[in-house]
Symmetry: D2
Subunit: 508 residues, 4 copies
C-alpha cells in the first residue's frame, strides 16, 4: 500500500513572540555585532525617538505623563555619549537596550514609545540622520582634496614633467597639468554625492511596519521635524530600499580609487631613483630597525583603504543579494556603511594633507625629461606637415632616430635634422626636405607644451584657465554642501528646542 | 675596501619601439583578450576614424588622396560586421588589425590616420559610443520593468497578501502594494543612469596622448561631429578617467540587485507549499529526468546574474587600483563594461517578461493570510487607544492572545474581545474595558488595509495614486531616454552622410 | 634654443628618519586604524618580544640588565589586557606605543629590544600566534557544526521529505539525508583548514628586515621557543607572503557559504506556509511592534555574515594587488583577517546552535510530499524497464499523467496504471503492457527511498552508514585539532615559564 | 464582518512540464548565456554520455539497438569540435541541443540516454573532466613560472640590489634573492592545487537527481570508466557542492596575486628613471602615436588579469549565496570557472615568458644601491655590539649620520667612523669607542650580504642552497602533475576504445 497522509499530529505551529531569552551563541554573534554599531546610531535614535514622541503627541495619541517622561529621558540622553549608555548585547541590539533603559526609568510609560512604529523605523531614521551628516561632510572633504590638487597645480603650472603611460615617458607636460587631473574625478564624485544626498535625506518615517500606519494621516510633519527634505512615498520602499546605500558605498570606493592612483604615483616618484617628490616628515614614518628609512607611510594607508573599500562595497552587495524585506540588509548596513564613509573621509583628508605639504623637485623632473625622448611625437608630427609624409612613415623614421640616439647615449634634445634625414633615407630610400624645420627649437619641451593651447591642454594658459574654473566649481560645491550641513544641524537643534519648550510648557 | 661604483658598463637603455613581433605567450593572453572585445568596439572605431579623418581634413592636415582613400575604406567598413573583419590577435589588438588592413588597402596613405591621435583615443571614443547607446537602452529596459511592476500593481490593488519580514507574516497588505515597491528603486536607478549618461556622452577627442595635441586649436568640432554632448576638458582626465565606468557598473549591479530580490520572492512563492504565483510556461523549464518538474528557471538566471554583476564591479574596481594612466584600466574595460551592461539589459528584459506573464493566485494569498495573525498589530494599537494602556503592555497582552489562539489552532480572524480581556487580566491583573472595540471588524484584513490612507500606504486609494504618479514618472523617463537614443542615432547617420558627401564631392 | 639641463639646484634628497611627529590627518587615519587592531596583536607581541629577548640573550647579544628589565616588564604585560595598556594613536601604531612604554619603564635598556628585528617581524609573529589559535579553534567549531548536522541526520533518517531543486519538489528523500549533506563541505573545509594551519604555524622569525640578519646563524631556536612547527625559509617570503591569509579568508567565506545555504533553506521552511521546521525560541527574536512575530533572526545573521565575509576576502585581495613588499598588505591584514575568522567562528557556532535546537515537523514534510508528484521519475523508470520503452517517451507519458492528475486535483500517490495506459495511448498511439507494474506500491515514497541503496543514497542503510563514517571522520578531525591547540597553549606557557626561570635565576 | 476564507476557487496548481517553448527574453538571457559555455563542456559531455551508455549497458538496462545507435553517434561526436556542433540557444542549453540532435539521428532510441540520469549529472561530470585537465595544466604552468624565477635567481645570485620596502631602499641584497621569493608562493599554490585536484577528480556519477538512483547498486564502475580517483559519496553533496570551485577560483586569484606583485615591481624598475630591468621586445608593445615608446604591455596584462580574477571569485561567491540545490550555482559556474582557470594559465605563461627573457641591468642596480644608505642598519648593529649601547640609541645616532651625509650629498659607503663619533657625541653627550670597528669594510654591501648566512638569507651560499632545494621541490611537483595529466588522458582514451570495441563486437 502506498503511503497515505499519515496521522502525524502536528502540534500547532508556535505563533507569537518567543518566550525565552536569546541563546549565548546568538548574543555573541548577532547581538554583539549589532551593539558594536550603537555609536553610529545613538544620536540618531535619540532624535528619532524625540520626533516620534512629538508626532504622537501632536496627534493626541499618548497621555501627557508618558510624553513628559519620555521627553525628559530622551533630552537627557542627547547629552550622553554612546559609550556611556548601557548598551549590552545580553539584552538584544541597541534598540532593546534602550527599551530596557526606558522601562527602568519610566515603567509602563516607556511602552508608549513603540506605538505605530517598529524598531526598524527608528533605526532607519537614525541611519539616515547619521549618513546625511557624513555624506555632506564627505563632500566637504572631497572638495578640499580637489582644492589642494588645484592649488598645487597653480604653483606648478610651469614645472616640466614628462607625463607617462606604462610608467614610460610619453610627452612633455607639467606637474601642474598632471596634478590637476586628480581634481576632476573628485569634483564629479562630489557632485554625485550631493545628488545622492537628496535620496539619503528622505524620510522613511510613518511607514509603519511596511504598509503604512493606521495612526497617521500624514507623514510630512515627522519628516519636517527631522529636517528631511522629502518623504519616501511608498512605505515598503521606505523601509527596505538599499539603492542609496549601494550608491554611497560605490562613491566612497570611486573617491578613494582616484586617490589611490595619485598615491601610487607619488610612492614611485618619492623613490630615491625618481626623486621627483618627497612627502613631508609629518606624513612619513620611521623604521624602528633601519636608520636610513623615511617611509611614505601615508601612501600605504591610502592604497590599503582603497582595497578595503572595494571589499566593503562588494560585501554589502552580497548581503543585499537576498529575498526582499530581509533584515540582514540593514543589520549589516548600520555599521558597515557609516564605517566605510568614515574611512573614506579620514583617508581623503589624509590625501589632502599629503598634497598640501608635498615637496616637489622640479629640477629632478626636468632632468629626467631631458634625459629622455618624449619630444619624439612632436618631431614626427612636424615632419609629417613639413615633408608631406604620412604619419605612420614619419613615426617609423623618428622611431629609428630615437633608437639610434638612445644606443649612442644622446638624449632627445640633442637630435638633429641630420639624424632624421639619415634615418629617412635608410628606411624610405628617399630624401626628405627638412629645411623648413628648426629641429632644435622644435625639440624644446616648453615650446611643445605651449603648443597645447586647445581647451584642457598642458599650455600655461590652458592650465591657468582650468584652475580658475575649477576653483569656481569648488566654491559652488562647498556652498551647496554648507547649506545642507547647516540645515541638518539647525533642524536637529530646533527639534531638541521644541521638545524642551513642550516639556517646559507642560511643567508650568 | 668597500664597494665603490663599479665599472658595470651599462649598455644604453633601449629607447624607441620594439623591433620584433609579440611572443606567443603575449598573443595568447593580452592580444587574444583584447581581440575578443573587438565586436564591442568595431562600429565605434569606424565612426571615430571617420570623424578623425574629417577633422584632420577640416584643418587641412592631410592630403586629399589620403582623405579619400581612408574615407572610402572606412565607409565600406560601416557595413561590415565585426565578425567578418580580419581581427587577429597575431597582429596585436583590434586597432593593430585595422591598421594592418588599412595599409593593405591603401599603402602609405593609411599612415595619415594616426596623425595627432593615439590608438587609445580611438578606443576611448569607440567605448563611449557603444556605452551611450547601451546605457540609453538600459534606461528603456529598466523603465519597462518598472512599468510591468506598475501594471501588475494596478491589477492587484485589492489582492490581499500578508506582507512578510523574515518570511514571517507581518501585516495585511496587498500584492499590488507589494509589487509596486519594486518599481521605485528601478526608477531611481534609471534616473541615475540618465544623469550618468551625460558623463558617458562626453568627448575625449583631441586629447592627444595626454597633454593635448599641437594639431588642434579646438576640440569641439570633433565632439559635435560624433554627437557628444560636451567635451571633457582636461586632456589627461579625458584619456584616463574611469569614474563613469565604475558608476555604470555599480548601477548595473544595483538594478539587478532589485530584481534578484523579486526573483527570490517569486521562487519561494511559486513553490507548491506557498503556491502564491506561477511563472508562465515560457519562462519555465522542464527537467529531462523528472516528469513532475516545471522549474522557474528564469528566476535562477536573474539571481545568478546578480552575483555575476557584483563580481564584474568588484573586479573592475580591483583593476583600477593601480597607478594613474595605466592601460590595464581600459584593456580590461573595453569588453567587461559593455558585457556587463549587456547582461544587465538581457536580465532586466527577462524580469520584465516574468512580471508581464506572471500568474497570480489571489485565493492562495488570501487563504494564507487568513490562517495567520497579521492583524495583531492593529488589535494592539486599537487596544492602546481604547483602553489607554501603553503600547508595550498592549503588545504583550496581544502576544499572549496570539500564542493561545495558535496553540488552539484558531486563526487570527477568530480572536475575540473575550480572548483579549482574559489575557489582559492574566498578565496585568487588571480589567480592561474593551466595550468600545468591535473586535471582529477590527480584525478584518481589508479594513486594516484601508486604514493605511497616508501617502504610500497599502489602501486602495494610496496605491492607485502611486500607480498614477509612477506612470507619469515613467513616461517622462522614457521620453528623455528616447530623445537621447534618437540623437545618438541621428548624429552617427549624419557623420556617415557627411563623409559620403565629401567623398562624392571629391570625386566630382 | 632648446631646453638643456638647467641649473635647478636639487637640495639633496632628505635621507634618514623624519624629524617631526605625525600630522593629525595621519594619526586619525593610519594610526587610528592600526591601533584598533591592537587587541588582536597584544598577546602575540608580548610573546614575540619575550622570545626575541631570550634569543638575543642565548646569543649573548644583550647585557644582563637589559635582559632582566625587558623580561620583567614583558612578563608583567602578559597579565595585562590590551584595553588596559596605553595604546594611543598619537604615538603611532601599537608597536610604537609599546616602545614608548618600555622607554618610560626602562630608559635606554628598552632600546635593546629592537636589535636585529624590525617592527614588522614582531607583528608578523604576533599575527601568526593569534591566527594559529583561531584557525585551530575554527576547526573545532566547524566540526561541531558538522556533528550537529550528523546528529540531526541520525534522528531523522526516516523522516520523509521531498527534496527540492528550484524549490520545486524533485524526488522523495528524507530530512536525514538532506541535512547530512551540509556536513560534507564542512568536513572538507575543516580538512583544508588543518592543512593550512601548517602554513600559518610557520616562523617568520629571524628574517631581519628582508634579507636575513647578521646577528643570527640559526633561526630554529626562536621558532621552537614559540612553538612554530617550521621555519619559513626564504626571508623575503617570510616577511611578505600573504597566500595563507588569502586561503584563510577564502575558507572562512566557503565555510559560511555552506551555512548560508542551510540558513536560507530553514528560513523558507520555517515560514507558516511551509511549516517544516521551527527555530527554538532562543534563536528567534520578537518584533517590538508586531505581537504576532517570532522571527528567525539567527538565520539573518548567518546570511548577512556570509555576504560580509565575501567582501572581506575580495577587499583583502584588492589590498594585496600592489607591488611586492608593501606594508599595506599587512597593515590592513592585522585586524581584518582575525576579525573575519572571529566572525566566522561566532556564526558557525550560531549555526550549530540552530541545528542542535531545531524543531522539525515530520508530519508537515510528509504531508507536503504526499500532495505532490515527486514519485514521477520512479514511475517513468519502472515503465521503461517494464514496457521496454525509451526513457524520453516514458518521461513524456508520465509528464502527461502528472499534468492531468494535477489539473484534477489528485495527488501523485493516487495515480493508477490506468492513468498511465491512457496517457501512453494518447501520446504514442500504442498500448503499453503495464501488467508487470504494481503502480500503487511503486508510488510509495518509502519504497522509492529504499531503492536508493547505492553508496550515498537516501535509503535508511545508506544514510546510517554515512552518519557512522562521518562521525569517525569528525572524531579524527577533532583529535588532530586538539593536538594542535594543546601544543600551542603548552609552548606559550613554556616560553613564559622559561622567561620567569631565567629572571629568577638572574636574581638569585 | 471580518474577512473569512473566501470562495476564490484555486484552479489546481499546474504540475508537470511546461507545454510551450521558451520566451525570447529567456532565450536571449539564460539559454544564450549557457550556450556560450558549450565549448567548455562539449568534450566532457561526450565522455559522460559514453560512460553512461556503457554503464546502462553493463547493467542490462537498455536495448542493444539503442546502445549501438547512441555509441555510434557519440563516438562520431568525439571528433567534432564544439563550434561545429549545432548548439543553439533556441533549443535551450547545450544539453537540450544535444538531445535534439540525438533524436534527429536516432529517433526514440535517443531517449534511452536519459535513463537514471538528470541533465545536471552529465554537466557536472563534464565540468569536472574539463577542470581536472586544466587544474593539472595549471600546476604545470605555475611550476614553470617558479622554475623561471629560480633560474633567474641562479643567474643573479651575486647581482647587488638594495631591497626595498615602501619603494625606499632598505638593506643590501641581491636580485637573485629578490626574484627567488616569487617562487615560494607559487610552489605553495601549486601544492594546494594538487591537493584540490583530488576533490575535483571525484565522481558525482550515479547520484540520480539528488537522492541516488534506483537503477544502480554501485557507483564505482562509472567513476572508474571516467578515470575519477574516487566517488563523491553523499549523492546530494555530489550534485551540489561548490567548495572545490571556490577553492580553484581562490587559488587562481592567489596565483596571479603573486605575479601581479612581480609585474608591478618590474614596471617600476623598467622605467627610465630606475632602469633596473628591461622587458624583451617580444613582451613589449609600441605606441602608434609616440615613436619614443616601448611599453611593457605584458605587465599591464598581468596586473589587469589579477583584478579580473578577484572579481570572478567574488562574483562566484555571490552567486553561491543562495539556498541549497539551486541551479544558478552551476549555470554560472560552467563557463566562469573554466574561463578563470584559462585566464590564469595564459597569464601565468605570460609571466613565465617575461621572466625567461628579462634583461637585467646589474650595473644600474648596484649604482642605485651605492647612491643610498641601505648599509645603515648593519652599521647600527655593529655599533651596538662594539660600543655596548642599546639598539635604539645606536639607531638614533646612525640616523643622524645618514641625515647629515644625505644633506652633504655623500653616499652611504663614504660614511666614516668620525661621522659616527661626532653624531654620538652630539646626541648622547658621550664618547663612543669605535676603534674596534672597521667602518669602511663594514659598509661594504657584499660583506653585509655575506653576513646573512642563516637559512633563507641573501648570502651566496644561502641562495644557492635555496635554488637547489627549490628545483627538487619543483621536480617533484612536475612529476606528480604529469602522473595525473597522463592518467586523465589515458582513461579518456580507454573509455573511447572500450566503446569502439563494444560497438565493433556488436557489429560482428
Amino acid at each position: 500500500m502506498p503511503d497515505q497522509p499519515s496521522e502525524h499530529s502536528h502540534v500547532g505551529r508556535r505563533g507569537g513572540p518567543p518566550n525565552t531569552g536569546p541563546a549565548p551563541e546568538l548574543v555573541e554573534s548577532g547581538f554583539a555585532w549589532e551593539n558594536a554599531d550603537a555609536p553610529y546610531l545613538h544620536d540618531g535614535l535619540n532624535l528619532a525617538d524625540i520626533a516620534h514622541v512629538l508626532d504622537l503627541d501632536r496627534r493626541g495619541l499618548l497621555p501627557g505623563h508618558a510624553r513628559d517622561g519620555l521627553l525628559t529621558v530622551l533630552l537627557e540622553l542627547t547629552t550622553v555619549a554612546a559609550r556611556e549608555f548601557p548598551y549590552d548585547p545580553a539584552y538584544g541590539e541597541a534598540y532593546n537596550s534602550r527599551e530596557r533603559y526606558f522601562v527602568e526609568r519610566l515603567g509602563d510609560d516607556a511602552g508608549w514609545l513603540h506605538a505605530g512604529r517598529p524598531r526598524r523605523e527608528a533605526a532607519r531614521v537614525a541611519l539616515r540622520l547619521q549618513l546625511r551628516r557624513e555624506v555632506a561632510g564627505l563632500v566637504h572633504d572631497v572638495t578640499a582634496f580637489a582644492a589642494a590638487a588645484c592649488g598645487l597645480a597653480g604653483t606648478h603650472v610651469d614645472t616640466l614633467l614628462a607625463d607617462q603611460t606604462y610608467l614610460q615617458q610619453a610627452q612633455p607636460s607639467t606637474f601642474g597639468h598632471y596634478v590637476l587631473s586628480f581634481a576632476e574625478p573628485a569634483i564629479r564624485d562630489a557632485q554625485r554625492l550631493l545628488t545622492e544626498l537628496a535620496q539619503v535625506n528622505s524620510s522613511p518615517g510613518g511607514a509603519g511596519c511596511v504598509n503604512g500606519s493606521r495612526l497617521l494621516d500624514d507623514r510630512s510633519p515627522l519628516a519636517e521635524s527631522l529636517g528631511f527634505g522629502s518623504v519616501i512615498e511608498h512605505t515598503r520602499d521606505a523601509m527596505w530600499r538599499v539603492d542609496e546605500l549601494i550608491q554611497v558605498l560605490a562613491l566612497c570606493s570611486s573617491i578613494v580609487s582616484n586617490q589611490t592612483k595619485l598615491a601610487e604615483d607619488l610612492e614611485i616618484w618619492s623613490s630615491a631613483e625618481f626623486d621627483f617628490v618627497d612627502l613631508d616628515d609629518s606624513f612619513s614614518r620611521a623604521s624602528v630597525l633601519m636608520p636610513n628609512k623615511r617611509n611614505p607611510y601615508s601612501l600605504s594607508i591610502i592604497r590599503g583603504a582603497s582595497g578595503i573599500l572595494i571589499g566593503r562595497l562588494s560585501g554589502f552587495l552580497a548581503v543585499t543579494k537576498s529575498p526582499s524585506a530581509r533584515s540582514d540588509n540593514f543589520i549589516f548596513a548600520y555599521g558597515e556603511v557609516p564605517r566605510a564613509v568614515d574611512l573614506c573621509r579620514r583617508v581623503t583628508r589624509l590625501s589632502t594633507g599629503v598634497l598640501e605639504t608635498l615637496v616637489v623637485h622640479p629640477g629632478q623632473m626636468e632632468a629626467a625629461l631631458l634625459r629622455g625622448y618624449s619630444q619624439a611625437t612632436d618631431l614626427a608630427e612636424q615632419v609629417t606637415q613639413a615633408c608631406g609624409v604620412d604619419y605612420r612613415t614619419a613615426y617609423l623614421v623618428v622611431g629609428d632616430v630615437v633608437r639610434e640616439a638612445s644606443a649612442a647615449g644622446r638624449p632627445g634634445w640633442q637630435i638633429t635634422a641630420g639624424d632624421v634625414a639619415r634615418a629617412a633615407r635608410e628606411r624610405t630610400g628617399r630624401e626628405w626636405d627638412l629645411s623648413r624645420l628648426d629641429v632644435p627649437s622644435l625639440l624644446d619641451a616648453r615650446s611643445i607644451i605651449e603648443s597645447r593651447r586647445a581647451e584642457g591642454g598642458a599650455s600655461h594658459a590652458a592650465v591657468i584657465a582650468m584652475t580658475r574654473s575649477t576653483r569656481h566649481r569648488l566654491d559652488d560645491l562647498v556652498r551647496r554642501a554648507t547649506v545642507q550641513s547647516a540645515a541638518f544641524e539647525r533642524s536637529e537643534q530646533d527639534l531638541i528646542a521644541t521638545a524642551r519648550s513642550i516639556l517646559t510648557g507642560a511643567r508650568t
